[in-house]
């Protein structure tokens, strides 16, 4: 079915919907991973964004029940060069088109995704609209410009869990409404370190990794405050990834400020930005962000290079961090942006990239062990 993608600057791409009629809007960003589209689709950090994959052939291995990073598809729309309707993989349970259509997410193909990517690279991430009903570029441009900007928007509220849940045996296990979040909530106190994970848009694989290295994990809504967390008497606090701009997530920043020094803290992605803000730093929007699984990050402590999975449009401003309190531990070798920070005295560290991978390389999996070690020494 014929469709149009129009960016806020008026650039229009003809394309076809492979999921039936529909309309979608949001910020359009590109991801350079050649594998892992299902993980991308279900990553809550993409909330509010329409994602185009730079690899042209998408859908090759279908979708399955295992490679999910949240309970649903999170992207606003999915844009590919050539949709592959004939999946081939022993784990495949469904075609990508059925998966998207089943959750009402628009998928389009047949556009020059490289041209789109170059346009974003040169012009920065842009608001855009896709429609199968409105094919008039003038109208679409006007409507694209009416879409609110991501800067200053709190998207975390859209994706965070409404109720706390326990991560158990690789799956979320919702806690009963009447269950009180207190020190008695844990099942393995004494046997495993206990970690509260604040869900700003948590990817399941982070929880899987935390569980795998031996934590007991309880995930709480983003707005859970410091006293509620302390009431659970955990051994550590985890700050999850999440979508969009960190600055409007003032409640999260406040919670972290209050818990700094009281609990060992580990943050990933948005969690890194929130820790940065809590430490008095500033964040800013990158031109077009880092989205892919080939980003080289140098660990400044060991000197080694990790190939990392990334998905972020905002970053922590290196100069805004007080050098007396905070060390930059990791940098991105492509553009020298901050990829990891650590408090010099307090037990708190975070990384901008995704050590849990999924999709992506497992080079940075050591960070989960590092968090566990921190718990022992703290």
């Amino acid at each position: 079915m014929e469709a149009r993608l129009t960016l806020e600057d008026g650039r229009t791409f003809a394309c076809r919907s492979f999921t039936g009629p529909g309309e979608a809007s949001g910020e359009v960003v590109f991801n350079t991973s050649m594998t892992g589209y299902q993980e991308v689709l279900t990553d809550p950090s993409y909330s509010g964004q329409m994602v185009t994959m730079t690899y042209p052939l998408i859908g090759n291995y279908g979708v399955n029940d295992e490679d999910v990073e949240s309970a649903r598809i999170q992207v606003a729309a999915f844009l590919v060069r050539e949709y592959q309707p004939f999946p081939s993989n022993f784990r495949s349970t469904q075609s990508l088109a059925d998966y998207l259509a089943g959750q009402g997410v628009l998928g389009v193909e047949g556009l020059d995704t490289r041209a789109l990517t170059r346009h974003i690279r040169n012009g920065g991430a842009m608001r855009a609209i896709i429609s199968t009903s409105d094919l008039d570029s003038g109208s679409l441009t006007r409507r694209a410009n009416a879409i609110p900007s991501m800067v200053g928007m709190d998207l975390v509220r859209e994706v965070t869990t409404t109720r706390a849940y326990r991560w158990n045996g690789g799956k979320p296990e919702m806690l009963a409404d009447d269950l009180k979040l207190n020190a008695g909530i844990w099942q393995h106190r004494g046997a495993r370190p206990l970690v509260v994970a604040i869900d700003f848009g948590l990817k399941y694989n982070i929880a899987r990794c935390l569980e795998r290295v031996g934590f007991e994990v309880v995930v709480v809504p983003a707005a859970t405050d410091a006293s509620a967390i302390m009431a659970m008497a955990p051994d550590g606090l985890f700050l999850s990834n999440g979508p969009g701009d960190p600055e409007p997530v003032v409640y999260g920043v406040q919670t972290v400020k209050e818990l700094l020094g009281r609990l060992p803290i580990f943050g990933i992605c948005l969690g890194n930005q929130i820790l940065g803000l809590a430490l008095g730093g500033r964040t800013y929007k990158l031109k077009f962000g880092h989205r892919g699984i080939n980003q080289p990050v140098k660990n400044l402590v060991t000197g080694k290079v990790e190939i990392t999975s990334q998905n972020h449009g905002f970053a922590v401003d290196m100069d805004s961090l007080g050098a007396d309190a905070v060390d930059v531990t990791h940098i991105n070798l492509n553009d020298n942006t901050v990829e990891g920070i650590r408090h010099r005295r307090l037990p708190a560290f975070s990384v901008q990239y995704h050590p849990e991978a999924s999709p992506g390389p497992h080079d940075a999996a050591y960070l989960f062990d590092q968090f566990k070690d921190m718990m022992r020494t703290a």
């Binding site: 991973s33 730079t54 042209p56 490679d67 690279r121 080939n294 080694k304």
Partner: protein, 1088 residues
């Protein structure tokens, strides 16, 4: 960490001659490494026996030894040059094996040479099946159940344990020589034995069969700080059971989820660390069970490989160059990514296109061998194509193969012998089930016959994802036919009033990779009409960049491919530019020599300040390195694809005379479109290629040629042969490498071969020449600026006329042609160059019989011998020819007289007979060699000895010579036998030869022919009693005897000569070797 300063001089071992499994990818990697190390200020010493390489150009390394790549010779070079380090990982398996042997012999220790890149221990761990299995066990990776056998008894026990079918893999071989699939105990006896013979260590692995599993490869790089990155992932279209060199391969992987891919990545990293490859690139192969995802490790190569060359071209990431820098101490994050200019080498390239590599086979040259693809590699070349979809890349790849096909079928070229009629379902099934070189076209026939994806999958185990892509191409074909029929019926043709296709369907077909030729065939139109209509509709390709990063960063290096999309990224400059057409995939008859010339053209253009634009489709080559030319278009070499680039770039001219027959064949169609052809004009090319025009020219110049005629039918051919008298040489016109060429002795054979020749070059006449028996052949390369002609080199063939010039050894300067004849040759060559108005290079083949000079053929283009002549004389002919084509005179370029070197240079051909069971090793008019080596020495014997050693023939200094020759060779062989006798060799001879020798007083012992019963000559070979074999045959006698002996010689690696002239040369070589051990000398010292 910065580069090491404790080493200054580094030795690199090249891969030697082009053989199956080891082609010009190692010139590409070696050249990159030399350049990278020199750039860092190291002194580079290089050894490689292959003169047709860019790496052996005197400018590439500091000290270049064109000497045999053997441990003894490398030891001599080490002793002389005293390098600080040896980098063994860039010269293929040959380079690696040689380095290992040199290390084992204690030479490195003796002279304090450090092995860099990979240590001996790591190489052994990766290469020895036993050690590798243990290593994989240690890191918990699964490899197929297997056992190592050193004897046949062990092999039988292990086979019993594993069960059939199983796979035999010899240790330390290249391209899986000697390996194979074993289905039963009988196969086991044959294949295990040949595997042990092929192995350097007489060892094979018997392995659980994973036939039908999906096959993958990862190209991995590691630096000494233990940073590891994956450069490229590759998925094989053909599942396990077909050697990866014979598989169609695709980058990146297509049917793995991220979870499965990351498991493979983790495994590769663990393997790199466990094997202990210090720095550099490696290749790891995996098999995956399509039913449940089980993954096993197939093998690992701790060096750059054919796949790493492919990966470099597929991603833009120069693996060999980076490997060289890592070897001298850099880490990945210290090396810039040249393509983007702004990022570093420590990342993993990401592709936003699909790459398809398709092998090119050459079974037609070896009709005695079966066209089967197994675990032993058979292909001689490959082509790579890039598209935004698999379908586009696959079809581009098929037309890049230059086998007369224009895509995935739909071109009217299916089964011309049956007028395109579909074969039976049985035949299709058979061709699908047992992998063979024609299978990809039978896949099309299967779809035509209505077979489903599921059915084809059951027969081939080719992943259904790929089969679906093929089906989509096929359905588009049907749509096009349908559209044409509908338009025809309704009488309301679309758009332009005549053309039956709409812009929409035409655009879709082009995006599916269809060529205009295919579309024309499907709708019953012509290429020209399709082209004109399409362009009028604005449907043209755009060019996109290969940039390593999927457009995330701006790319600095212009490396392009075409696709049918909206945005074109080609940056057309306003500089003067010249386009060079490359040679496409390697094949027998058109290989690295032509790429060498194209690269030189590019270098010459750079020197002249002219922008160079390279067009080629061969991923193995130096010409397709991103920094060889100012711009690289990785595209098929067809009229349509080349014209598109010309229209975009508007070059001042196109060079067609360097890439072999491929671009030469394009000169007329391009010229017809007004494309300026540089140098010799298409009319002259036609004049040299067209029999009648050529004959008229020779007549005009009073030059002789053997009596001849041309025929378009079998009847005509028979009449001509009768007139000029047998024997005659029969061949098709417009083909290179003597394809389908044959010496014919009687009318019955005449009929058979004329039919084949008509098939090989349809529509073109069959050429019939009088065969000049026992004539001497001479090759001449000349350069002409339009008025002055200078002879580049005159080469005297060792083998007599009748052996293709590409298979014949030759010597420069000639050693047995008188000065008067040399003068005659020079005059004739210059006269023809002037007559043909040659501007650039020209090659002439002459025959001399009874002191009469005959012209055999003239090629107004670069020949296969240009690099050899350039290395022998120190004159860079291809570079000079390029400058001449751009208007310089030879005088301006300083070439005013012929250069005749004082030293002797011998070129010897290297033949692939060990790859093709059942093929006779006799040489003939059809070219069969894959490569060549060069030997340089102060006298002929020494130069010839070096060439033989370089080609893998270890000539004995003493022992027994076996002689068995036909009557016509008996007089000539006397002298040879006499000399061997004088050198105290024992002589064994069969009946006739024995009588002749005895009658002439030469002591010899008689031995049975094979047909006379045991013990016979073949037994003596097997028992190691014979050190040298001289066995000639005309190829026309009942040849079972000679054939058995020659195959035995091949199998037991006993050096052999199959012509009397070759035997004499061998004799002189043995004599020279006995006089004194030979010395090594750098090429820089010859032409200093």
């Amino acid at each position: 960490m910065p580069k090491r300063t404790d080493i200054h001089k580094i030795l690199i071992i090249g891969a030697g001659p082009i053989i199956i499994g080891q082609a010009c990818e190692f010139d590409y990697s070696g050249t990159q490494a030399c350049k990278a190390l020199k750039e860092e200020g190291y002194e580079v010493v290089l050894v490689n026996s292959n003169p047709a390489t860019i790496m052996t150009d005197p400018e590439t390394a500091d000290r270049t030894y064109i000497e045999p790549v053997t441990p003894e010779v490398v030891a001599k070079i080490i002793e002389k040059e005293r390098p600080d380090a040896l980098l063994p990982t860039l010269g293929g398996q040959t380079g690696l094996n040689t380095a290992v042997e040199v290390a084992r012999q204690g030479v490195l220790e003796q002279f304090g040479v450090e092995l860099i890149g990979a240590c001996l221990d790591a190489i052994e761990k990766a290469e020895s099946r036993d050690c590798f299995r243990e290593a994989m066990n240690r890191i918990g990776l699964r490899i197929p159940h297997s056992g190592i056998a050193n004897t046949m008894e062990e092999a039988r026990v292990i086979a019993d344990d594993i069960g059939f079918p199983l796979i035999i893999r010899p240790s330390y071989t290249l391209g899986g020589t000697g390996g194979g699939v074993v289905y039963n105990p009988e196969d086991l006896e044959n294949i295990a034995k040949s595997g042990m013979d092929a192995s350097l260590t007489h060892q094979v692995m018997l392995e659980e069969s994973v036939l039908g599993w999906k096959e993958y490869e990862l190209e991995v790089m590691r630096d000494h700080a233990d940073n590891v990155v994956i450069i490229c992932s590759i998925e094989n279209f053909d599942p396990m059971g077909v050697h990866t060199g014979d598989s169609i391969t695709v980058a990146p992987v297509q049917t793995l989820t991220d979870r499965e891919y990351q498991a493979m990545r983790d495994a590769s990293l663990a393997i790199m660390r466990e094997i202990g490859v210090d720095t550099g690139g490696s290749n790891v192969q995996f098999a995956v069970n399509p039913q449940n995802g089980d993954m096993i490790v197939v093998e690992m190569n701790p060096r750059v490989s054919r796949s790493s060359a492919l990966a470099s071209k597929a991603t833009g990431f120069p693996i060999a160059k980076i490997a060289a820098k890592l070897a001298v101490g850099y880490t990945l994050d210290e090396i810039p990514n040249d393509i983007t200019g702004e990022t570093l080498a420590s990342f993993e390239p990401t592709l936003d296109y699909c790459v398809v590599k398709i092998p090119r086979w050459t079974f037609e040259k070896f009709p005695e061998t079966q066209d089967l693809l197994t675990t032993a590699m058979k292909s001689v070349g490959e082509t790579m194509a890039i598209g935004r979809t698999f379908k586009e890349a696959f079809q581009k790849g098929l037309r890049s193969l230059e086998i007369g096909r224009f895509g995935f079928g739909a071109d009217g070229k299916d089964r011309p012998e049956a007028d395109g009629a579909l074969p039976s379902l049985d035949e299709i099934e058979q061709k699908l089930v047992i992998p063979n070189s024609q299978r990809l076209f039978y896949l099309h026939l299967a779809l035509q016959a209505g077979m489903s994806i599921e059915t084809i999958y059951q027969m081939t185990a080719i992943d259904p994802w790929f089969l679906f892509q093929l089906e989509q191409i096929f359905l588009m074909e049907k749509d096009l036919i349908q559209a044409a029929e509908t338009a025809g019926r309704s009488g309301t043709p679309a758009e332009d009033g005549l053309f039956p296709l709409t812009a929409d369907i035409l655009a879709r077909a082009k995006a599916f990779g269809f060529s205009d030729v295919q579309i024309a065939h499907l709708i019953g139109s012509t290429e020209k009409v399709v082209e004109q209509t399409r362009k009028a509709l604005g449907i043209r390709p755009v060019y996109k960049l290969v940039d390593t990063c999927a457009a995330e960063f701006r790319a600095a290096t212009p490396y392009y491919y075409s696709t049918y999309e909206t945005e074109c990224e080609a940056r057309v400059s306003d500089r003067k530019k010249v386009m060079i057409l490359g040679g496409g995939p390697n094949r027998i008859g058109q290989g690295i020599e032509f790429d060498y010339c194209c690269v030189h053209a590019s270098f010459a253009l750079r020197e002249m300040g002219v922008e160079s634009i390279m067009v080629n489709s061969n991923p193995e080559t130096v010409s397709t390195d991103y920094d060889t030319s100012d711009k690289l278009y990785f595209e098929p070499l067809t009229r349509e694809d080349v014209l598109h680039i010309v229209e975009k770039e508007k070059p001042a001219g196109v060079i067609v005379q360097f890439g072999g027959q491929t671009p030469l064949n394009l000169s007329t169609p391009l010229h017809a479109e007004g494309v300026p052809i540089l140098g010799t004009q298409p009319e002259s090319i036609d004049r040299a290629e067209d029999r009648e025009l050529f004959q008229a020219m020779l007549k005009k110049l009073s030059l002789m040629q053997p009596a001849n005629g041309t025929a378009l039918s079998i009847a005509e051919a028979l009449t001509i042969a009768d007139t000029i008298g047998y024997p005659v040489i029969v061949r098709p016109s417009f083909v290179l490498g003597g394809r389908a060429m044959k010496i014919v002795y009687d009318p019955k054979d005449m009929e058979t071969f004329t039919r084949l020749a008509i098939l090989a070059s349809p529509g073109h006449p069959v050429l019939i020449d009088k065969f000049l028996e026992a004539a001497m052949e001479v090759d001449v390369d000349a350069i002409c600026d339009g008025s002055t002609t200078i002879i580049g080199g005159i080469m005297e063939h060792i083998e007599a006329a009748g052996v293709h010039s590409g298979d014949s050894a030759c010597v420069l300067p000639p050693h047995s042609i008188g000065s008067e004849m040399i003068a005659q040759i020079t005059v004739a060559t210059k006269a023809m160059a002037a007559e043909l108005k040659v501007v650039g290079l020209m090659n002439v083949q002459y025959a001399i019989k009874d002191n009469q000079l005959y012209v055999i053929e003239v090629n107004p283009r670069a020949s296969r011998t240009i690099p050899f002549v350039s290395k022998a004389t120190g004159i860079p002919l291809a570079k000079l020819a390029t400058k001449v084509m751009l208007g310089k005179t030879l005088a301006e370029l300083g070439l005013t007289e012929e250069v005749v070197p004082r030293h002797q240079s011998v070129k010897e051909a290297v033949l692939p007979f060990d790859r093709f069971p059942d093929v006779d090793t006799l040489l003939g008019p059809e070219m069969k060699s894959t490569g060549e080596v060069m030997g340089i020495g102060t006298d002929f014997g020494l130069a010839y000895a070096k060439a033989q050693l370089g080609a893998g023939q270890r000539l004995p200094l003493s022992g027994t010579v076996f002689i068995s020759v036909g009557d016509e060779d008996k007089p000539a062989i006397l002298d040879v036998a006499m000399q061997f006798s004088d050198m105290r060799f024992d002589i064994l001879a069969t009946d006739g030869t024995w009588s002749h020798l005895s009658a002439n007083g030469i002591p010899a012992e008689r031995i049975n022919k094979v047909s006379q019963g045991q013990p016979h000559a073949a037994d003596a070979i097997k028992n190691g009693r014979i050190q040298l074999i001289i066995n000639t045959g005309t190829g026309n006698e009942p040849r079972r005897d000679g054939y058995t002996i020659r195959r035995a010689a091949l199998k037991f690696k006993v050096p052999y000569a199959t012509t009397a002239a070759g035997a004499l040369a061998v004799c002189r070589a043995v004599s020279a070797l006995r006089e004194k051990p030979f010395e090594v000398k750098a090429i820089q010292d010859y032409h200093g």
